[in-house]
């Protein structure tokens, strides 16, 4: 296959962004199952599907386009109130998202498999069939709203639907008019929207067709709210907004009856009687002019109330206003019609139906079995991003650009100094000159440091990006496994290097899948063990200094270390003698050994160990380590300790046998000066006693097979990750330096204990120690010698 073209890469990048946004919104809907969906959110999802359809069409991505068409169609019916958002619909939408991601992954790779095409097309067809039709009303409530036909003509179908819904529920409708300066009206409108949103729904934002002068522009916001006028007024204090209430005619008896039938609730009591008869209400087709406003204010009781009705009817409105505001509140509570009838499960607190299986997302007769088989036959899609891009906050970029500007100023000063040095070259340079040069150099150093920090920060992304993707996956795995699980996420805001976040998704998926499939017991087994029916699987991130610790835990059956020992012995991974000496923690850590996990051991050990050596290796590549805690009957927790970034690190430069090495400073805990006689041998390995604790100890020279030189004292660099500690003996300490680690190519790649090479600035390459591997090596030595 030829590499994807630039245009295709652009398509993949934008489609990925759209799907990410779509996934986020779906997750929110999923978490709030049983509540009435926020129309803005449903519309957001619709817009995402709509954009995706257009995008795929333009790039000739037929398969994505077809599925997006089906999805958009379904969402269109949802947002226009032609379909209820129930569990089946939501489940299908989440499945569609998975299918989109699989399709996009194939597109990015330049492949196209028939299996996926069939699955996507089957899904599109199901989307088309899905749905129950909402109760149709006899009368269009919009007919009762006194709104200029001209204004109505610029509403999209969706906006019209939202208006209709608000009127039907008896929500008070307002026109909020505000004039702004042309240069910054978007900021003014954003402020207005922020204030209005908590009070109700902004249905449409109409730029006033009347010219607002050379530098001004006015907007009419059509706004529906249940709050009282004083509340609305206080919410808008300080904005240029002027309020005008839109009159609503009472429903006819027949349509009121229809409403009662449709909503099974008391009929709406209309408090705006009489308003409709006001002359201006029926004739006031355009927004009232400034003069009209003033006149109305003088006649009205509220200062910023801008009635479309006459003064007389305004008074009447005032008298009935209370009921007009109050009653709709009651009405809305009973308006359960659009709320999914089943109080369905949510993703975060996912509840399995009592039948064991979650409700099928397919109406009877739909080709569910076929589609399901196709979907399970396909391998789990990787959660890794398809693009190598980082979205950077524009503020951060501006900061970087400012820094470059300051660097240019320093460069100019240095240039000036160089110029004067050249001119005065024949005479000795003054002390003042030296001081000035030193000052500029210090400034340069500081700025470069800040620039470096800024660039690193730009690479940082919240780890929650991966968590969100995993949350969707959990839902499906839980359903497949027939378990009842609360999935708890924490610390999603913790930031890590983009590269690390990307690489984390697969190991985390592995661990979570293991926890759900095998760690957590079935509901019946849990009850029998005296535990709550629902298990908790949690995923949390926490920043600890230069590291981030991610914990994947469950409150399941835990790992039986005696059976781990049995399996390890059976597979010849350890000897009986070794097994005798191993503590509980060491036994548990055997699950990370290659060759430990096989299909058989899955069932033998509740599945712990599935591909854990792979997980461990993946983490090792990120300079991270993994640790396990488990207690029988209580649960299991994996701790992943990772550096915040891999790009630029501060290192300790050390010398051993006339060779130089760099040790990442983020894992250096302390440095000790040790005399040879302080080193003791315990169980045939060297250790040190540090403040009453026994510290495993290795000589770097021995580890790398270098000639040892007799020394009167060693420097011992104590490194640590998570709970592991190791003392590394070196001959000399050369100081600290920032380094950029470059991977070693070819055969050197697999050398244990070395993570890469770096250049210290003197053009001499230096090897960088892999602390995670050395810690392991230390432990392995322990085992070998035992």
């Amino acid at each position: 296959m030829s590499p994807p073209s630039k245009a295709l890469a652009e398509f993949v990048a934008e489609a990925t962004e759209i799907l990410e946004a779509l996934g986020k919104d779906l997750l929110v809907l999923d978490e709030r199952r049983g509540q009435e969906a926020d129309p803005d959110r449903v519309n957001g999802i619709f817009r995402a599907a709509h954009s995706l359809k257009g995008l795929a069409g333009l790039f000739g991505q037929e398969r994505i386009s077809r599925l997006a068409h089906g999805t958009e169609d379904l969402l269109d019916r949802l947002r226009l109130g032609k379909l209820h958002l129930n569990d089946a619909v939501l489940d299908t939408l989440i499945e569609a998202l998975d299918a989109f991601q699989a399709l996009l992954a194939e597109t990015a790779r330049g492949t196209e498999t028939d299996g996926l095409t069939r699955r996507a097309d089957g899904m599109a067809e199901r989307l088309g069939r899905l749905g129950e039709v909402s109760v149709a009303l006899d009368e269009d409530p919009l007919e009762r709203l006194e709104l200029d036909a001209q204004v109505r003509s610029v509403f999209t179908e969706y906006e019209e639907h939202r208006l209709r819904e608000n009127v039907r529920k008896g929500v008070s409708m307002w026109r909020v008019r505000a004039a702004f300066d042309l240069s910054d009206f978007d900021m003014g409108l954003a402020d207005l929207n922020t204030r209005l949103k908590p009070l109700g729904e902004v249905i449409s934002t109409l730029p006033s067709a009347q010219p607002g002068g050379a530098h001004g522009i006015a907007f009419d916001l059509i706004f529906g709210t249940q709050v009282s006028l004083p509340e609305l007024e206080s919410g808008l204090k300080g904005t240029p907004a002027e309020l005008a209430r839109l009159a609503v005619r009472p429903a006819t008896i027949r349509s009121a009856e229809a409403l009662v039938r449709a909503t099974e609730s008391p009929a709406i009591v209309l408090g705006t009687l009489g308003v409709a008869s006001a002359p201006e209400a029926s004739t006031g087709t355009s927004p009232p002019s400034k003069r009209g406003v003033r006149a109305a204010v003088e006649g009205g009781t509220h200062q910023s109330l801008l009635p479309l009705a006459s003064e007389r009817s305004d008074t009447e409105q005032g008298e009935t206003g209370a009921s007009a505001h109050g009653v709709p509140g009651q009405e809305s509570e009973s308006d359960e019609e659009h709320v999914p009838s089943a109080k369905g499960p949510s993703l975060v607190t996912y509840l399995q139906g009592p039948g064991g299986r979650a409700p099928a997302a397919t109406p009877p007769g739909a080709p569910h079995a076929g589609a399901g088989a196709a979907s399970s036959a396909l391998a789990e899609p990787s959660l890794r991003s398809l693009t190598q891009t980082v979205r950077v906050d524009i503020g951060k970029l501006d900061g970087l650009i400012n820094m470059v500007g300051e660097l240019l100023l320093i460069k100019a000063s240095l240039q000036r100094l160089a110029e004067s040095a050249r001119q005065d070259g024949v005479v000795p340079l003054s002390k003042l000159f030296g001081q000035e040069l030193a000052r500029e150099t210090r400034g340069l150093e500081r700025k470069l440091e800040a620039l470096q920090e800024g660039l690193l920060e730009a690479r940082m992304v919240p780890v929650g990006q991966v968590f969100d993707k995993l949350a969707r996956l959990v839902r499906r795995i839980t359903r497949e496994a027939g378990k009842e699980i609360d999935f708890v996420i924490g610390g999603g805001e913790v930031e890590l290097d983009k590269l690390i976040v990307e690489e984390l998704s697969d190991p985390l998926m592995h661990l979570i899948r293991n926890a759900i499939d095998h760690g957590v017991e079935s509901p019946d087994m849990r009850l029998a063990a005296g535990k709550p029916r629902r298990a908790v699987v949690s995923l949390r991130a926490e920043q600890k200094g230069n590291h981030v610790v991610i914990q994947v835990s469950d409150d399941g059956a835990g790992i039986d270390e005696l059976r781990v020992r049995e399996v390890a012995l059976t597979r010849g991974l350890i000897t009986h003698a070794q097994a005798e000496e191993m503590g509980r923690r060491e036994l548990l850590n055997l699950i990370f050994l290659p060759g430990f996990s096989t299909a058989r051991s899955v069932s033998e050990l509740s599945g712990r160990g599935v591909g854990l050596d792979v997980v461990k290796n993946n983490l090792g590549n990120l300079s991270g380590i993994i640790d396990v805690w488990s207690e029988r009957g209580k649960g299991t927790a994996f701790h992943l300790t990772l550096p915040v970034t891999l790009a630029i690190i501060r290192a300790l430069v050390v010398g051993v046998s006339a060779r130089t090495y760099a040790v990442p400073l983020n894992s250096v805990l302390e440095i000790l000066s040790v005399q040879p006689r302080e080193i003791r041998t315990m169980e045939r390995r060297e250790v040190l006693d540090v403040r009453g604790q026994t510290l495993p100890f290795v000589r770097l020279s021995r580890l790398f097979g270098l000639p040892e030189r007799p020394v009167s004292r060693y420097f011992v660099v104590v490194v640590g990750l998570a709970q592991e500690r190791l003392g590394i003996a070196v001959d000399e300490l050369h100081g600290q330096q920032d380094i950029v680690t470059k991977p070693l190519g070819g055969r050197l790649q697999s050398v244990r204990g070395i993570s890469g090479a770096t250049d210290l600035g003197n053009r001499r390459p230096v090897l960088v120690l892999d602390v995670a591997a050395l810690l392991e090596e230390g432990l392995a030595l322990e085992r070998r010698r035992a």
Partner: protein, 124 residues
């Protein structure tokens, strides 16, 4: 002097596709924006000979933009094309009723847009 065409479309890929199609016609300069608000700001700053707009946008919708343009004496003679997708007939019809000159249904061929541009801008 090239004539300026304003393109209002919130999808980046679509926007670039339309812009590249428009700029492929000699004598046209494309000015692009992703939002209706931005379009309102751009209108007084340039002299546009034609506007191409999407309907479904997050801040103001395309219909509102059309209405604004058609009601404003400074811009009302500028021809407007709607970019729409299949299934949005009501919105499209409203746009045409508000005074849009033409509509194009995504995905459209570059040739059809090019033909319309030449016709409305009276280019050879």
């Amino acid at each position: 002097m090239r004539v300026k065409v304003l393109i209002v479309e919130d999808s980046k890929a679509s926007r670039e596709y339309i812009a590249s199609t428009v700029e492929a016609v000699e004598g046209i300069e494309a000015v692009v924006t992703s939002s209706g608000f931005e379009a309102l700001k751009l209108l007084p700053r340039h002299r546009f000979e034609l506007i191409i707009t999407d309907i479904n946008m997050p801040d103001i919708n395309g219909l509102e933009l059309i209405n604004f343009v058609k009601k404003n004496p400074n811009y009302r003679d500028v021809p407007l094309f709607i970019i729409t997708t299949e299934g949005r007939e009501q919105d499209r019809d409203r746009g045409m009723a508000l005074g849009a000159a033409e509509y194009l249904v995504k995905p459209f061929q570059p040739g059809s847009l090019e033909g319309l541009l030449r016709r409305y801008l009276k280019l050879p």
